[in-house]
């Protein structure tokens, strides 16, 4: 079947591209001189994160470099994603200490409940977002990994305005 093409005659002001090209170029030239910039030159430039940003975890340590955790079991209890594995035990001095503390960052939903519930202010969410790894296993953070993290930690709420008023 032959294709029948109907050519519609339109007025010149409807089909001319000169005017729209010029208006497009005008936008381009306006942005060349406009100081407002949208594109960020990552990774040379980075966003400044909110103090309440919730990223992957970090375990704070005492002055002696030991994890502050006392294995009370509140974070695995409160965790809605069930991503914290904790086996309580004792350290060399007989104090309560986690024998095993693992956070599955894949399972984690970054709600911040673990940080909020922690009575020792040990476990914190981190203020960072670069988490890439070469293997899936590396996303299960053990106690060693959690204490080795150095990035700043989440505030969860603005200290100056704790109730967001």
């Amino acid at each position: 079947m032959a294709i029948r093409v109907t050519v519609v005659e339109r007025p010149i002001e409807h089909v001319s591209y000169i005017r729209s090209t010029l208006s497009g170029l005008m936008t381009t030239f306006k942005h060349m001189v406009d100081p407002h910039k949208v594109t960020m030159q990552y990774p040379e430039e980075r966003w400044e994160l909110s103090p309440r940003w919730r990223g992957t975890h970090r375990m704070l340590t005492t002055e002696s470099g030991k994890a502050k955790c006392v294995a009370c079991g509140l974070c695995p209890t409160v965790c809605p994603a069930n991503c914290i594995k904790l086996v309580p035990g004792e350290d060399e001095e007989g104090n309560r200490f986690p024998l095993l503390f693992e956070i599955d960052e894949f399972r984690c939903i970054f709600c911040g409940y673990c940080q909020e519930v922690c009575p020792e202010e040990a476990i914190h969410l981190g203020r960072h977002y670069e988490n890439a790894e070469f293997s899936r296993e590396a996303f299960i953070y053990d106690l060693e990994r959690l204490t080795a993290q150095t990035h700043p930690v989440s505030e969860l709420w603005d200290p100056a305005d704790p109730k967001s008023e």
Partner: protein, 537 residues
């Protein structure tokens, strides 16, 4: 307490609910009968009343001031209010005083989650402390035995002192010093080595007395609990098995006024590690053509076992910790073939708890010796005579430790030996024809009969290892294949069969036994039933 013909009954109103209780009952117990829990620390139904904590203060109409519910007996027409402004204010005040020297270490305290101080503070305590002075500090003390004392957490309710003094009648503990310096002291040169001393850990309403065995092992809210019976001796104490990740981490007494009231001994309490043992027999094994035991599937193994036992006289060497159901089914094999059933039982020293009638760590250190005797087994006294073409069924006797050589020789004389057990007994493993894996008592349901002839149920608390099946299930399948029983689908059905065959068990069912058990009918005739006084008020 529920006897309606004996004592005079008193009617009173507690929190708007009508309670009818015998004369002489305390308000706190009367409140329990109508579902009202009055906060308390020093009061415990198994101990004499002290009235020292002042936590159970309630508002009684027409009383000039608040009354301690534990030490006030009920009166006709009395109207009791637990949650009036006045009573609540008094209890909040008591809590504030208790918390003055109580450390804020709930995160590291083993009692957290099952702590009465935590519960009542949450319920009706102050949110913030007004105390500004430094808190009193005393170092942790080892009380000996399994008990550790953390004096900072102690609220001086004296439950432990009263238990050791009045119930165990071994007054090792006391209240030393006075005022805010007071603490629980231990008599010089004595330790809490009494076999009943571990109960002070259960009695302690806070985390002051802790079990060294359970220390830092698990949090209270992570544990799964199920009702069971202690297998430590023939007393049959009711217990709660507490597991974490399918591992038994501790045993706690479960109250039963007719058996153990609120207590259990150290022997039963600390003997739970064998339940978690890893070297279990977890797959059925059959001796093949090459003379080697190899893994088989259940159907093949049961067929092989049935073929080995069929047409032979079957003798049974049973464990005294096997359930009535398993013993009955194995007993059917030996009864129909004219065989003999024996069981071995370890003996130890008897250790009574003086404050509770008829409660003792019994000499016979197994749960179901009485059940085995009622079901036709005998204690192993003389070496059984086993003819050359007889079969021997070993029912969960691991033959570990001190086993008479004569017994091993007698077993070896059997033409075929079938083992139905939780482990593979090393001493007879080379002789076994078939080994069938079964679950232990925490992995199945069943009943034990204690030395007074009380039949008590135990429930499953963990999952079975590998392919192991409940003992009643394996033996029901086996006996059905041999052709001596048929059609058992649940342990309750096996128990119904026991009660229809054995007059001693007649008219008992699982539903009737519930979780506190019932005595077998001719217990008195058999001289098993000592006079028991029904529970305390």
């Amino acid at each position: 307490m529920s006897d309606t013909t004996g004592p005079k009954m008193v009617t009173l109103t507690i929190e708007g609910r009508t309670a009818v209780v015998p004369e002489g009952t305390s308000i706190i117990e009367a409140a329990k009968t109508v579902g009202v829990l009055i906060p308390h620390y020093c009061y415990h139904p198994g101990l004499p009343v002290a009235g020292v904590c002042r936590m159970c203060l309630v508002d009684v109409e027409r009383f000039p001031k608040l009354a301690p519910a534990c030490a006030t007996t009920v009166m006709e027409g009395q109207v009791v209010h637990v949650h009036t402004e006045k009573a609540r204010e008094a209890r909040t005040g008591v809590l504030e005083f208790l918390l003055i020297n109580h450390p804020l270490d709930c995160p590291v305290c083993d009692q957290a989650g099952e702590c009465e101080l935590q519960d009542y503070t949450f319920q009706e305590g102050r949110a913030e402390s007004r105390y500004e002075e430094p808190k009193r500090f005393n170092p942790v003390e080892d009380f000996g035995g399994d008990v550790m004392y953390v004096p900072n957490r102690c609220i001086l309710c004296t439950r432990c002192v009263r238990f050791m003094g009045e119930v165990a009648e071994d007054p090792v503990l006391n209240v030393s010093e006075r005022g805010d310096r007071a603490f629980i002291g231990k008599a010089e040169g004595h330790d809490l080595t009494n076999v009943w001393a571990g109960n002070v850990v259960d009695l302690c309403p806070v985390g002051a007395l802790l079990s060294k065995d359970f220390l830092n092992k698990a949090r209270a809210w992570e544990l799964d609990r199920s009702a069971s019976i202690c297998t430590g001796c023939s007393q049959g104490c009711n217990i709660t098995v507490e597991t974490r990740d399918n591992t038994v981490v501790r045993l706690k007494p479960r109250s039963n006024p007719a058996v153990n009231e609120y207590f259990m001994c150290e022997v039963g309490r600390l003997d739970y590690r064998w339940i978690n043992r890893r070297d279990r027999l977890d797959q059925p094994q059959v001796r093949g053509d090459g003379g080697v035991l190899h893994v088989a599937d259940w159907e093949a193994a049961l067929d092989a076992a049935a073929a080995a036992l069929r047409g032979r006289r079957v003798h049974v060497l049973a464990s005294a910790n096997a359930s009535n159901e398993a013993l009955f089914l194995a007993g059917e094999l030996m009864r129909t073939s004219g065989g003999r059933g024996v069981f071995r039982v370890a003996l130890g020293d008897e250790a009574p708890l003086p404050g509770v009638p008829d409660l003792s760590l019994r000499a016979e250190r197994a749960a179901n010796g009485t059940g085995a005797r009622v079901l036709g087994y005998e204690t192993l006294s003389t070496t059984p005579t086993i003819a050359a073409d007889d079969a021997v069924l070993v029912l969960d006797d691991s033959l570990e430790g001190d086993v008479p050589d004569a017994l091993l020789e007698a077993i070896a004389r059997g033409a075929v030996i079938v083992h139905v057990g939780t482990t593979l007994p090393a001493r007879i493993a080379p002789l076994l024809q078939v080994a069938l894996p079964i679950t232990n008592h925490t992995e199945e349901e069943g009943t034990f009969t204690n030395l007074r002839g009380r039949v008590q149920r135990f429930l499953q608390s963990r999952t079975a290892p590998g392919l192991a099946r409940p003992s009643w299930y394996v033996l029901a399948d086996l006996t059905e294949r041999v052709g001596v029983t048929s059609g058992f689908g649940t342990p309750a059905e096996v128990f119904t069969a026991i009660s229809s065959v054995h007059p001693a068990f007649s008219e008992l069912t699982y539903a009737q036994l519930a979780l506190r058990g019932l005595p077998i009918l001719d217990a008195t005739a058999r001289g098993l039933d000592a006079p028991t006084t029904a529970g305390v008020a």
